[in-house]
Amino acid sequence: MKRDPYPQGLASGWQVVDASALAADRTLEADVAIVGSGAGGGIAAEILARAGLKVVIVEEGPLKTSADFRMREADAYPQLYQESAARKTKDKAINILQGRCVGGSTTVNWTSCFRTPATTLAHWQREYGLAALGVEALAPWFEAVERRLGIRNWEVGPNENNALLLEAARKLDMPVATIRRNVEGCWNLGYCGMGCPTDAKQSMLVTTIPAALAAGATLVHHLRADRLRIAGDRVEALEGVAMEAAGLRPLPWRVQVRARHFVLAGGAIGTPALLLRSRAPDPSGLLGRRTFLHPTTVAAALMERAVRGYAGAPQSIYSDHHLDSVAVDGPIGYKLEVPPMHPVLFSTTLQGFGAAHAGLMGEFENTHALLALLRDGFHPDSPGGVVQLGDGGAPVLEYPINDFVWDGVRRSWLTMAELQFAVGAKRVYVVHEACAGYATMAQARAGIAALPLKPHLARIVSAHVMGGCGMAAEEKRGVTDDRGRYRGLANVAVCDGSLFPTSIGANPQESIYGLAARNASRLAEELSGRAAPALA
């Protein structure tokens, strides 16, 4: 088994501050303050620290490592996720899974890696003038992060839940492929969503953050980035609020980080919210707007044989048939994947209650599930959501599900039912309160056509928050430029999924890694006056 890098690193003098244990205010000085330790912040931290710059990384969540990861949902969700994995859109129609811990969502994601699809980059070039972000121009950056994080095809083979998608797609003549994963020496346990207990997952927690600490960076966890202190067109300091150990409520202590430059990587809800709280200039008027979620639908199928979807790599097979066979800016397309099957995640997603629900849970071992991730943001009728500030400045995402999205929801249910019946499902349940299950595809067609498309009746989930500080060549069309530089603040760069002008159309972690590696390297060169170091 790989070794948890923290005990030895801390013993060797890594600078790690637990703000929940402070007893007074503090001030830190840095060349670069990085807000957030997830996909964007982690990559930036390694590059900037190894460039010889003094880096302070601020993380709202706790530092939890493999020794703490017990593979139990009841522990993991409150410890490692935003709002105990129950973060929701304003009308509560979409449940959002987002990490809140050192490593951010990379600590709890399901390890699926995709380069930014060529169709997405072409759309950005066409619609947002992002000429520099082409497939060839980005390839070296993707190669670098793939090397750094062990991203490669999953050769062990799919678990039964994924194998059913493979078999179904082949039967229906749909293109289907293997997912690349960021793992080294993976035990194929299936508990990636609760933190990897064997340190096999090459999350920021075990890769770039330790590398940054080894290069002299300081990590302050349990510190909420409250606001940026702005003077003219520059940020002078980040004002942080220490959080109590459970991470929900603030303590009286504040930590101020004074720096030459600020890199914002708090995720596509946290980053726009920090800028809004700071009353940052917003020349495009688009700050916090065009937030995308890959709204995701779910269909469960009862199979004759055991599926045991809790065991084995959670995601290893996907199909892009319903993305690649349609126009990117036409009716909404969707990517097909499967979720890991764990009792809390599945039972709370599944519709109904009482005997009907218990009956379905009684078939838990034999249940296969599919996901359809809707590619939002490419059509004029898909404007996404808006990040707002609620009580005490806490972020709230308003994301109304409109008819354009609902149309895709219904089509995705039909597709998933068709796939599931193709591999012998006894009964298919699309996750909608009014669906009591279908025994045949004919029943499913009639039933799905009649399902009312209303919030809360259809259960929609999301694990990918993107946008809100979208890039564009023209100032009036984008909050940031193609290097992530924030328009209106000379020493601020955004370095997370907020940058995306649309959704990605694939699990976004590698898109964030690649763009962060590119932009942080350029920033390192500017700030240090030397060539940027390669990723380790």
């Binding site: 973060r87 109904g352 209650f353 809360h456």
Partner: protein, 175 residues
């Protein structure tokens, strides 16, 4: 089941009912915070959740006896722990929901449950949940979804519920 007329009345009071319940309660007597109460729920909230659990977990809870009451208690505790881990804004909204459900007129009008929660027949509670599940008011549908998620999450997060669904629990890691 809530009638159409009750729906319309609920529509008239709408979200204001939640706020009004909050005002009423803030002037009323505070719940004694008994020393042994687990986090997340007041005593009166525990009574409400304890009435919801047998309806939401019908078919999953042990049929009777001490095992059943212990399971209900553990699930109520689990709901409290889950609520204590939610964002302050979500905790406030849930507290308002429970305040509303604790007011006898609201309980009767909005939920269609005429007896005290402690004495409410499980069929009445199930009918209330079913009514909110399919309510025309988004607010009530989202409240149903919250109760659904809290109770089922507390139950299926408890290793005691796993054998019945054939879930072996996480593997042992031998190093």
């Amino acid at each position: 089941m809530i009638t159409r007329r009750q729906f319309i009345k609920a529509g008239l009071v709408g979200g204001a009912a939640l706020a009004a319940a909050g005002l009423f309660y803030s002037r009323g007597p505070k719940q004694a915070p008994g020393g042994a109460v687990p986090p997340g729920l007041t005593l009166s909230e525990r009574t409400i959740v304890a009435a919801l659990v047998p309806a939401i977990l019908a078919g999953a809870l042990p049929a009777s006896g001490a095992a059943r009451s212990r399971s209900v208690e553990e699930t109520v505790d689990g709901v409290g722990v889950a609520i204590a881990g939610l964002a302050p804004a979500a905790q406030k909204e849930l507290a308002e929901l429970f305040m509303l459900l604790d007011l006898a007129p609201a309980r009767a009008l909005l939920a269609g449950v005429w007896s005290d929660w402690a004495a409410a027949p499980v069929e009445d509670v199930a009918a209330f949940l079913e009514g909110w599940r399919f309510s025309r008011l988004a607010l009530l549908r989202s409240a149903y979804a919250a109760l659904h998620d809290l109770v089922l999450g507390a139950w299926y997060g408890n290793p005691g519920s796993w054998p019945a669904i054939g879930y072996p629990g996480p593997p042992e890691i031998v190093q």
